[in-house]
Every structure is written in structure tokens, then in C-alpha cells.
């Protein structure tokens, strides 16, 4: 399995190359080659693991040298963060980095001896995550090459630091691979902090005042999570004499005393990483970064790091206080973020809120901690990763061509930028339309919440799904409204198109194949995590699902066939008789032509971010603080 160190270290090496090479064409070429190499690496890993029987593999027990490198890496991160904080005069944030790093250094060097267990674990979940990171991350990097070219030419007010941007993207990829493949909590801490720092640096890319401000907000929230993570890890080291995540979860399933605090603190860290309430504002602020970073970090991969950890922890969360806290915060975020999404007109902000909302649903699923909800969470994660990445890339490409990303300007996009509009349509449809992934996950989550008698979560899911469908459907409707507009020149580059097309195809494939995927891959994954055999989806439902999927694809096709053969007389739309004739203008009472404008409902003054964010943050903060106090108090006493 030599491919594993390759996957972690190769992107780091490429990152250095990216920084050093300033000639764009050469650097782009190297980027393409590296992406192909990374995808090949993951393919090799998957094949090797499949040949080995798809069993979990634990590797690398003796790793003294590497442990020291990891520690050095953490210290390096601390230094970078401290320097940057001092430069920008945010002194207190450096404390958030210094304290946990020193703590963990002390614990590693002078702390108790821990039993040597494997440091790398390859099982179904890690392989799935690796595939997601490689495929989606790789495609986004391909997209970013074209996008940043247009971005640099359009935004000449920002310094063109593309080499820096790509360095950070590759550094991030390497860190994510390390993160999902590690079993040692000490290694996980390093990779966690690396992703936080990458995100911080990427948000501040344009170096505008608002970008700097938002980047520091993202930094302190993620570092706060890092503090929680470190405290949990160190506690586990001292009390449990181990740093193995696998060991922690196993002990946690039995409810061993010393696992309660680590699991609580790690869950708290996951909540900050996944931008749950009250930590959602960093993700909203991260939208000022260029689109590829929004697509990669802030929807498809980095925030999924928090979810990944929660999925690992979920067997240990069921029925505990921590689990209740996580499921409440998740469900609450799901509902509140989807309400706030209704009030947004900026497409990227809508996507950000919907990311937070979906992450909330995933978090809630993990918090409940049953096989069904974890199954639902895995599928939600899969669907969300592909479709959100597709949507972000598409909105970025549309913005490049139209110079706006206001949804109101997307009216009739199907007739102005047809390809991009179709991709948007596919992405949104994959997000919430039955019977695709989101909906079956909701089915499973609802069923499991009722089984667990978690009435609050049931209410959150019910009301949240109503509000979710509202903002998605109204966006979709806007795209297809036939307003006979003037077409726009589509300046999307070829590599952007490649990435978008592959994403759309993957989305469709996933929609069609997911019953097979469930049976063949995810069900056994749940067995691995929970250690017991259970059929998450009853067979009858699977059959029904397959039939429904076929219908939802076949019916429009049949309807189109029937419809295209019909002769139809076209009439102007009804405007009380004052339609000028092209459905775009009408005649006013003075005989002049007036343009017809129609907008969606937004209700910004009632349910917008300004109104709802602060109360939601207060409520969720109260719940977290109270629950943590109960947990810590109960575990220590």
C-alpha cells in the first residue's frame, strides 16, 4: 500500500512546485498532470483494496519518524498563524493556535506512553472519501485553471497570485487525504489544522478588507474547534492511553467513562468545521473567495471533514447527551438555514445557506446514531458533494459570462446560456427532487427519528423540508421562464466545461445507480461501522425506488415525444390585452411600451439573515454550552 504515502505527500510536493513556478502555461500543465496522477493513485488504492477483499486494513504501527514530522508540522502551522495574526493585529486569535499546539506538543513529548496501534486505516468509508476527494477535488482544480484565468483578467484590481492559490488547493488536497486515511488522533489534529489554515488563506486571497475580515472569522471559529479537538485528544491520551480513533469509537459504543469527554469535544470540533449554528457565519463570509475555493472547500470537501468525523463517531453517539446535542444543533440548523436561504437573492449565498442546511441534516443524522440515519447521512454527503460542487462551479461560470450572480438576473437563463442553465437544473434537481438521494435520506432520517422518539428532530425535518423545497423550486422556475431575452456570449472555458459535464454525468449516474450503490457498498459500510448486520432499506422499498427513478426519467421523455408531434398555435401571454406581442413589453396608459419585470418572493425583511441569524446563534449556543456543561460535569464527577 505504498500508494497511501504517495497520496498524502505527492500533493504537498506539487503545492511547492505550484508556488515556485510562475509561468502560467507550465504551471497549468503540471496541475493537469498532477490531477491525473492523484486520480490514478486513488484508483490504484481502490483496486488494491478491492482485490484484498474489501476488508478494513490497518497499517503503519511503527512511525516514530513520521510522528516527529507531524509535530514539527503543527509547530510550523502555529508559527504561520501567529505571524499572520500579529501582522493583522488580531492578537487574541493567535492564542487559539498557540495554546492547543503547545498542549499537544507537551502531551506527545512528556505525556504518558500510548499503546502502539495502527496509524492508517483503510476501510469502506475512507476509500469512499478518497474517491470523493480525488474526483471532485481533481475536477475542481481542472475547472479552477480556466476559471482563475478569467478571474484574473476580469478582476484586475486584485493581485494575480494564482501560484499561491493553486499551492493552497494542492496543499489542501494532501491534507484531506491524510485526514480521511489517518487513524491516529494526533495525525488527525495536524491535518485538521492544516485544512483550517488553508481555508483561512484562501478566503483572504483577494486581500480586500472584507476578505481579510471574513478570513479571520473563519480562522478563529475553526481554531476554536481545533482547541476542542486537541483537548479531547489529550484527555483520551491521558485517560485512555491511546490515540486511535477506532479504539475511541469502540470504547464509546460500550459507554466507557473516559470516552465521554473526548467524544463530546471532538463532536464540538466537528460542529464548528461543518459550520453549524452558532458557527455558520464563517461559511457565509467565505463566499467572498473565488469560486473554486467555495466549491472545493466550502461545500464539497472541507466541511465534509466534520461530517466524516461525525460519521465515524455516530455509533458511539446514539442515546448519549452528546448525541442529543449534535442532533438538536443539526436539526435546528437545517430548519433555520433553509428559512434564511429563502430570503437570499445572491446565488452563492443561497448555495452557502443550503450547504449549511444540508450539513445540518447530516449532522442530525449522525447525532441520532442508528444504522439507518448513518446510511442516510452517507448518501446525503455523496449527493451533496457532487451537486453542490456542480452548482458552485456553474454559478461561477455564469457569473463570468453575465457579471452578476443575482438569481433575479437568471430569469430565462435557459435561453441565454443554455448549457449552464441545464447543468444548474440538473444540480438542483439532484439536490431535492424525489426520488433522488436527498429525498430517500429524508425518508430514512424521518423514520429513524420516529423510531428513536426524537420528536424535536421530527418537527425540524418536517418543517425544514417544506422550506427547502420552496427556495430550490423557485430558483428552478426562474431558469426556465421563457422571457425571449437577448442571448449572451458564453465565455466558459473548455476545462470548466469538462469539469461541469463530468459532474453532471456523475450526478445523473448517481441518481440512477444509487439503489445498487446502496446494496453493494454502503450497506456493508454501515455493517463495518456498527458491527452488526442490518438491512437499512427494506427490499420492497428498494424495488419501489427503482421503479420511481425509472418513471421520473421515462415520463418526461414520453411526454416530450407525445408533445413534439402536436401542432400548436402560439398565442401571446395574457396581459389584459395590452401585450405588445413578444411577452416582454406591454402598452401603458399613455401608449408607451413598458418592460415586464417579475421577481420571486424573498421576504428578506421578515426572515432574512439580519433578523434570524442572531436569535438562532443564541439558541444554539445556549444548547451547546448547557449540554457540554452537563457532559463534562457528569463525566468528571
Amino acid at each position: 500500500m505504498a500508494v497511501i504515502p504517495f497520496l498524502i505527500c505527492f500533493p504537498l510536493a506539487v503545492a511547492v512546485l505550484m508556488y515556485c513556478i510562475r509561468a502560467n502555461k507550465i504551471r497549468n500543465f503540471i496541475a493537469y498532470c498532477s490531477v491525473i496522477a492523484i486520480m490514478t493513485g486513488v484508483a490504484v488504492l481502490t483496486v488494491q483494496w478491492c482485490i484484498g477483499g474489501m476488508q478494513p486494513i490497518n497499517l503503519y504501527v511503527e512511525t516514530e519518524m513520521v510522528d516527529h514530522i507531524i509535530l514539527a508540522g503543527e509547530l510550523a502551522l502555529m508559527v504561520i498563524v501567529t505571524i499572520l495574526c500579529f501582522i493583522h493585529r488580531k492578537y487574541w486569535i493567535s492564542l487559539l493556535s498557540i495554546a492547543p499546539t503547545l498542549l499537544i506538543a507537551y502531551a506527545e513529548l512528556f505525556g504518558p506512553k500510548v499503546e502502539a496501534l495502527s496509524h492508517i486505516r483503510v476501510d469502506r468509508l475512507s476509500v469512499l472519501m478518497c474517491i470523493i476527494i480525488a474526483v471532485i477535488g481533481g475536477l475542481i482544480i481542472v475547472y479552477a485553471v480556466g476559471y482563475m484565468h478569467g478571474y484574473a483578467h476580469h478582476h484586475t484590481e486584485f493581485a494575480d497570485r494564482r501560484y499561491y492559490f493553486f499551492m493552497l488547493l494542492f496543499l489542501f488536497l494532501g491534507a484531506m487525504f491524510g485526514f480521511v486515511l489517518s487513524d491516529s488522533l494526533l495525525w488527525i489534529v495536524l491535518f485538521w489544522e492544516t485544512t483550517s489554515v488553508c481555508s483561512f488563506l484562501l478566503i483572504g486571497y483577494t486581500q480586500e478588507p472584507i476578505a481579510v475580515q471574513n478570513s479571520f472569522r473563519a480562522l478563529w471559529m475553526n481554531l476554536l474547534g481545533g482547541v476542542g479537538l486537541t483537548v479531547g485528544v489529550v484527555y483520551f491520551m491521558y485517560e485512555g492511553h491511546s490515540v486511535s480513533l477506532f479504539h475511541l469509537v469502540n470504547q464509546g459504543i460500550f459507554g466507557t467513562r473516559f470516552t465521554i469527554i473526548p467524544i463530546a469535544m471532538i463532536s464540538f470540533a466537528a460542529l464548528t468545521k461543518a459550520a453549524q449554528m452558532p458557527f455558520s457565519s464563517w461559511l457565509m463570509g467565505a463566499m467572498v473567495a473565488p469560486t473554486p475555493s467555495s466549491a472545493l472547500l466550502h461545500s464539497a470537501t472541507m466541511v465534509k471533514a466534520g461530517i466524516y468525523i461525525l460519521i465515524r463517531l455516530s455509533p458511539a453517539l446514539s442515546g448519549t447527551h452528546t448525541g442529543n446535542m449534535v442532533s438538536f444543533v443539526g436539526g435546528f440548523t437545517f430548519l433555520v438555514a433553509s428559512i434564511m436561504a429563502i430570503a437570499q437573492t445572491d446565488a452563492k449565498k443561497v448555495l452557502a445557506f443550503s450547504t449549511i442546511s444540508n450539513l445540518g441534516l447530516m449532522t442530525a443524522c449522525c447525532g441520532v446514531g442508528t444504522p439507518e440515519t448513518t446510511w442516510a447521512c452517507v448518501f446525503l454527503m455523496l449527493f451533496h458533494a457532487i451537486s453542490k460542487s456542480l452548482l458552485f462551479q456553474d454559478v461561477g461560470a455564469t457569473e463570468n459570462s453575465m457579471h452578476t450572480r443575482d438569481i433575479e438576473e437568471f430569469h430565462g437563463l435557459l435561453y441565454r446560456l443554455p448549457k449552464l442553465a441545464v447543468f444548474q437544473f440538473i444540480g438542483i434537481a439532484g439536490m431535492f427532487l424525489a426520488p433522488f438521494g436527498m429525498l430517500i435520506s429524508k425518508w430514512s432520517a424521518l423514520k429513524a427519528s420516529v423510531d428513536e422518539r426524537n420528536i424535536v428532530l421530527v418537527l425540524f425535518i418536517i418543517f425544514g423540508s417544506a422550506t427547502t423545497s420552496f427556495y430550490w423550486t423557485k430558483w428552478m422556475g426562474k431558469l426556465i421562464a421563457h422571457s425571449r431575452p437577448i442571448p449572451i456570449k458564453d465565455i466558459t472555458k473548455k476545462n470548466e466545461n469538462i469539469s461541469l459535464t463530468v459532474h453532471a454525468v456523475l450526478m445523473l449516474l448517481l441518481c440512477v445507480l444509487f439503489p445498487a450503490l446502496s446494496r453493494g457498498y454502503v450497506d456493508p459500510m454501515i455493517v463495518e461501522l456498527y458491527g452488526r448486520r442490518e438491512d437499512v432499506l427494506p427490499m420492497a422499498l428498494l424495488y419501489t425506488l427503482v421503479i420511481v427513478i425509472c418513471m421520473v426519467f421515462a415520463v418526461p421523455a414520453v411526454a416530450h415525444f407525445v408533445n413534439s408531434k402536436q401542432e400548436m398555435n402560439v398565442k401571446p401571454s395574457y396581459m389584459n390585452g395590452i401585450n405588445v406581442g413578444d411577452n416582454r413589453f406591454f402598452v401603458d396608459s399613455l401608449g408607451e411600451e413598458k418592460r415586464l419585470y417579475m421577481t420571486n418572493y424573498y421576504f428578506a425583511h421578515k426572515i432574512g439573515q439580519r433578523k434570524l441569524m442572531i436569535p438562532s446563534q443564541l439558541i444554539s449556543m445556549a444548547v451547546i454550552v448547557v449540554t457540554l456543561c452537563i457532559i463534562v460535569g457528569g463525566a468528571l464527577v
Binding site: 398555435n569 398565442k571 401571446p572 395574457y574 389584459n576 390585452g577 395590452i578 401585450n579 402598452v587 401608449g591
Partner: protein, 208 residues
């Protein structure tokens, strides 16, 4: 199959009237006169309407509007001009802005004079319109049948369809006079003539 077109839907448009006839039209749809028992429904949407009830005269501002509304209605369609203003321009005929009755713009099939036209007369007009609508529907079905079986070219089809939707001059005259006679008696004396009363009794018994 072609006989069961018992669902005439109205579109009521007011040109440049004093609203007297409009109120009478609305009264026709109220429970006292209840035009709905014939399946009449006052839809406001020309694309779903069969019968266009026009009140009020045509001026230069509403002429294109009336034309557009008429064009938006799908065939087969019938036009009923209610009130003298819609028939000929009425009391406002000599005004500088009034171009005349509805037939200056669109082909009118049935004229219901009166100032204001009484609900009984309007129902009379609607009943005649329904009969004419049934006739037109049968012609439309026959035409479509011919087209479907390739006996007509598309141009012939359109030409014939347009012809059918215009009333022939004589037919219009006859209908106008018919109603007119009843109207003269009905309106001036304020009572219903025996003729109209009989008709209403028949209608009430459910015979169409």
C-alpha cells in the same frame, strides 16, 4: 359525440361603457338569474373562453386590446355584443373618441340591444350564443377530422376555420331582429313578453 358541448365559458370585456350593462351581466350570473345552470362560467381568461361578451363602445385605445383578446381565444368562438353601445356605439356614437360598436373591430355574431340590456335578454343572447357555439363546434370537429385524414391542406384548413368563425351577414341580421323584437316589448314595458317567458320556463325545466 359532437353533440355534448354543453359548457360555454364566457369572457366579459367592457369597452367604453357606463358600466350599466356590466352590472346587468354580473346580475345574470347571480343566484336570481343563475346562468351557471347552463354550464356557463365567467372565466376571465380569453384562452379558456368560448363566448366573448362585449359591453361598451370601441375607442382607439381599446381597439387593439379587443383585437388581441379576440385573437387569444381559441376556435370555435362566438361574440355577443351586449347593450347598444357594443352594438352600434349607442348613446355615445357621435362622440369624437368612439369608433362604433364591437363589430368595427371583430366579427360579432349576436347583438343584444338595450340600455341597459336586461338579464333576461342577456340570457336569451347567451342561449342563442350557446346554440351557435354548438353549431360551430360541430363544424370545427368536422374540419379537424378532414384535416387529420389528409383531405385538407393546412392553408385550406385555416381559411375555412376563419370563415366559420365569422357569422354570415344574414344570420347575424336574423338573430339581431329576433332578439330585438322581444327587447322592444320587454324593455319598454318592463315586463317579460310571453315569448321570452316561455323560453325561460323551458330553460328552467332543464331542456336546452
Amino acid at each position: 359525440m359532437a353533440k355534448i358541448h354543453k359548457s360555454p365559458w364566457l369572457l366579459h370585456y367592457d369597452g367604453s361603457s357606463c358600466n350599466g350593462c356590466d352590472i346587468e351581466v354580473l346580475a345574470t350570473l347571480t343566484p336570481v338569474y343563475d346562468a351557471e345552470r347552463f354550464g356557463v362560467e365567467n372565466t376571465g381568461d380569453p384562452m379558456q373562453a368560448d363566448i366573448l361578451l362585449i359591453t361598451g363602445g370601441i375607442n382607439s385605445q381599446n381597439q387593439p386590446v379587443v383585437k388581441q383578446l379576440y385573437d387569444q381565444m381559441p376556435r370555435p368562438k362566438v361574440v355577443v355584443a351586449v347593450g347598444v353601445c357594443a352594438c352600434t356605439g349607442g348613446i355615445f356614437k357621435e362622440c369624437y373618441n368612439i369608433l362604433g360598436g364591437a363589430d368595427t373591430t371583430i366579427p360579432v355574431d349576436i347583438y343584444v340591444p338595450g340600455c341597459a340590456a336586461r338579464p333576461e335578454a342577456i340570457i336569451d343572447g347567451i342561449v342563442k350564443a350557446v346554440a351557435l357555439f354548438e353549431e360551430r363546434s360541430e363544424e370545427h370537429d368536422a374540419l379537424r377530422h378532414e384535416k387529420k385524414h389528409g383531405q385538407l391542406t393546412p392553408e385550406e384548413y385555416i381559411r375555412k376555420a376563419e370563415e366559420n368563425s365569422r357569422a354570415s351577414e344574414e344570420a347575424a341580421e336574423t338573430k339581431a331582429i329576433d332578439v330585438d323584437k322581444n327587447q322592444i316589448h320587454g324593455n319598454i314595458t318592463g315586463e317579460l313578453t310571453g315569448h321570452t317567458m316561455n323560453k325561460l320556463r323551458h330553460i328552467g325545466k332543464g331542456k336546452r
